[in-house]
Symmetry: C2
């Protein structure tokens, strides 16, 4: 997921997911890819963008039409399994922040 | 900047800065470091976290007490010079989104 997300005009919602990885690789890449694929199929999904530094800090921001869409995604069964595995296996620590995007601008050459 | 930001309880504001780099390195690292140092000195600054993928997509999220604090930082003179250089030299494209953080959670082992 190495492109900026293209989102409609605000207002909409962002989930900012900041994480520090453990050293355990097993299952991480496949689950991470699957969660992005699955999120994109949910009602109200607007886009996602993700970057991870070589030293383990990652930031993934997903964009959603509404708080209801975020709540539905949080409760998705397959997502819940991945969340439980995430803290047990792949993440030493993570933060989730839900924010309402009020203004957005794009700058390009 | 390879640590998660430690922020107080919501509400507060986030500026999500998503960028695609050009190949030009000259001056980028020093200016980027200086902007993080300078931001941290501004009134209302709460924290910043940043990650860049090996292929050029970067996400930097800075956290602020208020919209006024964000407006003041946007108008900072040294920051304005860096912004102008940013699009001319270092970024092919970038997005800024201002969002109000309504909920936040931390998970750790």
């Amino acid at each position: 997921m190495s492109k900026p997300a293209q989102t409609p005009d605000p207002p909409y919602y962002a989930v900012i997911f900041t994480s520090l990885r453990t050293d355990l690789e097993e299952g991480y890449g496949a689950t991470s890819d699957r969660m992005i694929e699955l999120a994109a199929q949910q009602p109200g999904f607007l886009g996602v963008e993700s970057a991870r530094d070589a030293d383990g800090l990652g930031i993934t921001v997903s964009y959603w039409e509404s708080e209801e869409a975020i709540a539905n995604w949080r409760r998705n069964a397959e997502h819940r399994v991945a969340q439980a595995n995430g803290l047990e296996k792949w993440y030493a620590e993570f933060f989730t922040r839900v924010a309402k995007v009020e203004r957005a601008r794009r700058f390009a050459k």
